[in-house]
Symmetry: C2
Subunit: 159 residues, 2 copies
DNA sequence: ATGATTTTGAAATTCATTTTCAAAATATCA
DNA sequence: TGATATTTTGAAAATGAATTTCAAAATCAT
């Protein structure tokens, strides 16, 4: 599963006068090949499978670079630790987050975005970005609740 | 400007077996009488105008209580520090945030919420809460940019 | 290769928030 | 009311995510 939007990471570095390094390339590659919504921890672990000596700081730094250059964007999802997702130019998606199992499902709605820009216009704002997050219980967890007949402990994600 | 939704704070404390104290009551009162979207710092400063010996920890603790009992809710707005807003039962509003001056404007859209629940249903989720944040530049800042003719430094809020 | 410049990793730092703990305040009950 | 058990407070310490520091290592242009 490969995403090819915009120019390659190495080229981007050159344009900014930054150096292409083993760790930068590796981190960027692993990030782009991973599923969406990784935490820094998760990304760091994956990267260390190839090169165990890569430090947290470098992962943070590279993620910041990726974010600045439009390849990644950081999200909070109600937790303290950030998660990073892939960004494809022009395209925007929002999220459904399950408060029980932590599952994150993406969706996109042109109609909602339309209403958003109408509201922004009415209030005199020019919008550059938005976040829409719906928090609740996913189908699987609802089914499990049904089976046990009792409430499952919420926010299992947060411990 | 007084908001009276739900039961009074003191009664709520009693129900939970918590004690009613000078500082708790004072913090809750000042919070409810303040404008929306205060940071903990701001609330603490206000509270200390009356009682300078109140500690940060107590403000945090009371704010958490208020949040748990439905009087307040915490928001992030893309910054590291949380802001707290009043919550009125059943009613939900969302936010426009100016990336230049930090202004926060509230809005509500039944039509967006309708579309949200339709999406949630399609994905099998049961939604309990949502966040919709529109980030951009407000009318005032757009006007200023126009006047100077050049881009104002962005994210002045974040330093 | 040389040398200027950038990047790295480990450890230290920051900063918001939470926790700890002894002293103070509050509620309960005799 | 007073004694006592319990909770709360505030200051300082702890936590935890993210950032910065800095000397050593890597990169790149020549």
């Amino acid at each position: 599963m490969e995403k090819t939007s915009g120019l390659p990471f190495q080229q981007l570095l050159k344009e900014r006068g930054l150096k292409s390094t083993r760790q930068r390339d590796e981190i960027a590659r692993v990030f782009m090949e991973s599923a969406d919504h990784l935490s820094v921890d998760e990304l760091c672990q994956r990267v260390r499978q190839k090169n165990p000596r890569i430090g947290y700081a470098t992962v943070y730094r590279t993620l910041k670079l990726l974010a600045q250059s439009g390849w990644a964007s950081a999200r909070q999802f109600g937790q303290r630790t950030a998660r990073f997702e892939h960004r494809t130019e022009g395209e925007h998606h929002d999220h459904l987050i399950c408060l029980i199992c932590g599952k994150i499902v993406e969706f996109a709605s042109g109609r909602i975005e339309e209403l958003q820009s109408r509201i922004a216009q009415k209030k005199g704002f020019r919008i550059f970005d938005h976040k829409l997050e719906l928090y609740g219980h996913c189908a699987d967890c609802l089914a499990k609740k049904e089976m046990t007949g009792k409430e499952v402990r919420e926010k299992a994600t947060n411990e």
